[in-house]
Symmetry: C2
Subunit: 295 residues, 2 copies
């Protein structure tokens, strides 16, 4: 990873911690609910979706800070999906990123409510980002975000994933799941950056294509790292997909096949990016990082 | 209940069934997720929040149909809160309105996801209602709805309710819970009607006061009906609050004390309504209905 990208990621991930803390501090709600929300929000995520939003603004020549509320919204939606996903009725996970999961610390009922609260408050934060935007772009951004995070998008992907748990999926079914479960929210991040950064309609089209391929590349690399990654760097055990007999890009295509798909998606993302004619290398660097990352 | 109000409620509750069905039919998501969403949406709710939104539009001289997307959004948020509330980790209810609860039919994991999907899709539907609205009013409506449904509002009320389950609450604590758990979403319904129906700033203030008192009156009547209601009309067993040793307006104030509070809130709602100078009796009739209703 280039030095420049590395400090961009570090800077903005750090700023996210500060912003997310502020969002929680501004709330007036029963303290145990706020603690549960904050616990998972600040449990050390990679802040991938906010980073892509900030990088899009940078690439369009805007101050990334313009997207801070939207970035918090993205991270809240991502976090709620993890909190609910870890519940006993879902994946029943005790640990995430080396820390106890939300329901192990706060109990199942509070974890359900904390997830609900994070999801709902995300929309408030997105609405806060309306200030300074063109109204029609705000409405479009809002409609898209709620579509991409909802039954047509992320939640639909989660449902398909759960329904497919005990069977061997086809590669098409796997793509169906991850286009929704992973790529849709990342696409939403980039498109939010486009709206806030007033991208041209052509730029929106090309950056959307970029984001879709990056989202899939991200998931494929996740599957590869679960097979051949370094536990210390990942902060979690590898081989869990295999142990759970889960259909992944690696189980369906092998490590080499998955790597080939990864490179293809990164290649396609870069081709789309070239057409978008943006002003900085940030998004191109992030595409390379998707292949190189080991955590 | 007046014949006029009775047919207004019946008509609009019927239209809600049609609209909600359409909302689900328009989605492209795994069929079991859509079935779970539709099951609870169409499980025979009273459609109280949409009715208040429609009545507000009627009182402001607008076609209630203008609020149909927002009404579906309200009903989706209300429904998701019931689906999650019924979960084994929360209230662990097997039946609601005489039908099996969502998780009893579709399993816990799907019930969690159906709730998440309903909540997320509600925001999409609200954004759909932006069409034809003034942009700044839409942004305000959106911010308010997400605040009143989130940790500062409904979810905060749910959390406080859960945290207070095993202790005897004070009347102030009970008000804290129900202002958030019940009154906030009803207030949101009336305020949405104000924004869509372009109420004057003064009307918004008075109708908000009206709605807050109505929301509390609604909850108090619920508590009274749980004590002295007719099981056949209610479609559920009475006395469950007492059996569960739950703090309610009746347990704290007695039936007569609760009735007195109910009348006071209805009185205050009507006083506020008088100041709003609206064009129809619909909202006044609904206030009376809050006292008379037996289901």
């Amino acid at each position: 990873m280039s030095q420049q990208l590395s400090s961009f990621i570090k800077d903005w991930a750090g700023k996210m911690d500060v912003e997310l803390k502020k969002c929680i501090a501004d709330l007036q709600a029963p303290p145990p609910l706020l603690e549960a929300m904050e616990y998972s929000l600040l449990a050390g995520g990679k802040r991938i979706r906010p980073i892509f939003l900030f990088a899009t603004l940078d690439a369009l020549g805007h101050d990334p800070l313009k997207g801070k509320h939207a970035a918090c919204a993205l991270e809240m939606v991502h976090t709620y999906s993890l909190v609910h996903d870890d519940l006993p009725a879902m994946d029943d996970d005790d640990y995430r990123r080396g820390k106890l999961t939300n329901h192990k610390v706060f109990g199942e009922a509070m974890a359900i409510l904390a997830g609900d609260a994070l999801l709902t408050h995300a929309f408030y934060l997105l609405a806060k980002n309306a200030e300074g935007m063109k109204p029609e772009q705000f409405v479009t951004m809002f409609q898209e975000f709620s579509l991409l995070a909802g039954p047509n998008g992320m939640v639909g992907g989660q449902a398909a994933d759960m329904l497919g748990e005990d069977k061997k999926l086809t590669i098409d079914e796997l793509y169906y799941i991850h286009e929704r479960k992973t790529a849709d929210l990342l696409t939403s991040a980039v498109r939010m950056g486009c709206y806030i950064g007033q991208a041209s309609p052509d730029q929106v089209i090309h950056l959307t294509t970029y984001a879709k391929h990056i989202g899939l590349a991200f998931q494929i690399q996740d599957d590869i790292l679960d097979e051949i990654g370094d536990e210390a760097k990942l902060g979690k055990k590898v081989g869990s997909d295999k142990d759970n007999d889960k259909s992944t890009f690696v189980s369906l295509l092998g490590v080499e096949g998955a790597k080939e798909q990864l490179h293809q998606h990164v290649q396609q993302s870069k081709e789309a990016l070239a057409k978008a004619e943006v002003l900085s290398d940030r998004l191109a660097d992030l595409a390379d990082f998707m292949v190189q990352r080991d955590y």
